[in-house]
Amino acid sequence: MFKKLLVLSAAAMLSIGSLAACSNEEAGGSESGEVQLTLWHPEGDKSVAYDEILKEFNKEHEGEIEAKIEYIPRGNKYAYEDKISAAATSNTLPDLVAMDGPNVANYADAGIIQPIDDVVKEKDKFVDSAIKQGTFNDKLYAIGPTESTVALFYNKKMLADAGISPPTKLEDAWTWDEFYEAAKKLTDKEKGIYGVNWTLDYGEWIIYFTGPAVWSNGGSFIAEDGSTSEGYVNGPETVEAIKFLQKFTNEGLVNLQPTPTEFEDGNAAMMLMGSWQWAKLQGYPETEWGITYYPKSPNGDQVSPSGDWTWGISTSTKNKEAAGELLNFINTKDNVNKIAAVESTPPSRTDSMADLTEWDQEPMNVLKEQVLNTAHARPATTSYPVLSTKYGQAVQNIFLGGDVQDELDKVAKEVDADIARK
């Protein structure tokens, strides 16, 4: 038996040569001059909608354009981005590539995606935050059908029991103090119940969900022109905002090591989470859920985070015209509606938003109002990966009791060193 295995391996050894040889033959060109387009998008619930849209597109352009979409699993935090990087090193990128909003600047600066101002048709139909997220150096590089936002989800019964009625109008959104008081009232250490749950996911999440607190307080992460972060990411307004959030972890109103379903299981009364959380909560029909606005700073207006997967045209495409046509096709009102319908994702087109009448009712109206009125894009800078990673690690340390100013000073130093190298 044992020897047989080895003999088998020797035989297989010979066949591998032929395996390798035949592999090269498939890569033939397309027949009859039909344009071939390839798209990359991370795997997710939207895939079903995209399959449908591409089928329609291919039918409409039969004999002219044939588009094929490949879904890439995201795996650990950065698997999709790592794959794009690997493809960029060998010029094997697809014609159209989907990317998370904050990556646009980095990709545009490296020259792997190209400006699309002359391609995109109905630019004025998109919400400002979506255009801003896709713009780098005053040129539009990416546009996507959907948006996202973070709101405060809550357990209706637990809030009612505590005599708390969360705001239902944007102008009444909780200020930090009101939010803090509510969280304090809802925390019950004896029973192991926390006032708020916020995920301490290590990837992009931290800058995404804490951003509004910073912006609402008049702070920011980096200078408008991207030249320095000193005085911005560690400026007094930013420090004040993060100090406010630190109060929650210092006083035990947030669980630093929650189970993945702490909020759903009734062990936390509120949750700061992305718009996609609503779909997940439908799996827990026995509890009544509500949504209210992201709390605002006493010194400023209500602000909400934004940004979702967006499409760009790679510089290695041989068919910019066809790629542009497909890009516009994906972003038509009808197709945006289709994609947004999945997972109840907010669309990035204002006219699609207007179509969604069910989003006018409570509690979904909260998400709609935030996307239309208070959405703020993350900074468009080539040093974004360093900023996001270092800031995330700093906030992590701050939540564990680190000094806010010291930690943010370190971030500013790292980011400025990165800017200087570019």
Partner: protein, 281 residues
């Protein structure tokens, strides 16, 4: 107490120690399997000891994976089994032969080559990902099976492992074979291999495990579903933001089964190696 009862007592005691310790090691795997048959909303509700005794059992998670319309689980499973098995088989052959040559058939620079190979084991795979991708891409293997197999056949770790065991191989056995007129090849094939089953089994198991669980490399070299492996494939089951833990646990359970089976299969080669031929150390 008689000698027999004393021996028996000793064995019972040992068995209990193994089982108790064993539970500490296998508990997470058990937890995973049990979580996979719980309804989604129950998985993290109770994390105490009672997590191991589900109140409600469902096979929905398995149904969702095995009969998913979008994901052909069996296709990915087949790709993994194919590529990993071939890597293991070629690897056993190529690496053991190389180690044997380096240890027993000394040729010029063989010691130096050995040193270089051992040094190469130091290189972390993370630092090679991009250069290796560039090499594999220049061979035209992106989205082709060889990309998942050929780069991992020769393994510094396995050569080092075989070398270490062949060094301890009794000289008497080899010399006896050579006196019988056996060529070095015949000595290797008829004497060394049959008497080294435990190390071959170890190399097979360890290679299988590390290749089977790899996610990053298959993801990067395979965009085409045609050759994607199960570690990549199961990711298709997970939505990007709302995570279904029950399905994750079910998928992970399904992907762990082949590794456990391989382990049990190769275990039978853990027999006493050399004593059977009557050589005294």
């Amino acid at each position: 107490m008689s000698y027999q009862t004393k021996e028996k007592m000793k064995k019972v005691f040992l068995s209990i120690v193994i089982l108790v310790l064993g539970f500490l090691f296998i508990a997470p795997l058990l937890w995973m399997i049990i979580a996979s048959i719980k309804p989604e909303t129950m998985i993290f509700k109770d994390m105490g000891f009672s997590a191991f005794f589900p109140k409600e059992v469902t096979f929905d998670n398995y149904m969702a994976i095995l009969f998913s319309e979008r994901v052909n689980f069996f296709h990915y499973m087949w790709n993994s089994i194919l590529t990993v098995s071939l890597t293991v088989l070629f690897g056993l052959f190529v690496n053991s032969l190389c180690a044997y040559a380096l240890v027993k058939l000394k040729f010029p620079f063989s010691n130096f080559i050995l040193l270089v190979i051992i040094a190469l084991y130091v290189v972390p795979f993370e630092s090679m990902l991009i250069p290796l991708y560039i090499v594999v891409n220049s061979l035209g293997w992106i989205n082709e099976y060889p990309a998942l197999i050929v780069p991992f056949i020769a393994s510094a770790f396995n050569i080092f492992l075989f070398r270490q065991f062949f060094m301890g191989f009794p000289k008497e056995l080899e010399e006896a074979a050579m006196l019988d007129g056996a060529s070095p090849w015949q000595t290797f094939w008829r004497v060394v291999v049959p008497n080294s089953k435990p190390v071959f089994a170890t190399a097979a198991i360890l290679t299988f495990v590390s290749q089977w669980s790899d996610f990053m490399w298959p993801l990067i070299v395979a965009t085409d579903k045609k050759i994607q492996t199960v570690q990549v494939g199961i990711q298709y089951l997970f939505a990007d933001r709302t995570i279904e833990y029950g399905q994750i646990m079910a998928a992970l359970t399904l992907t762990t089964i082949p590794v456990i089976l391989i382990f049990i299969f190769f275990q039978r080669y853990y027999v006493q190696g050399i004593t059977s031929s009557g050589v005294k150390g």
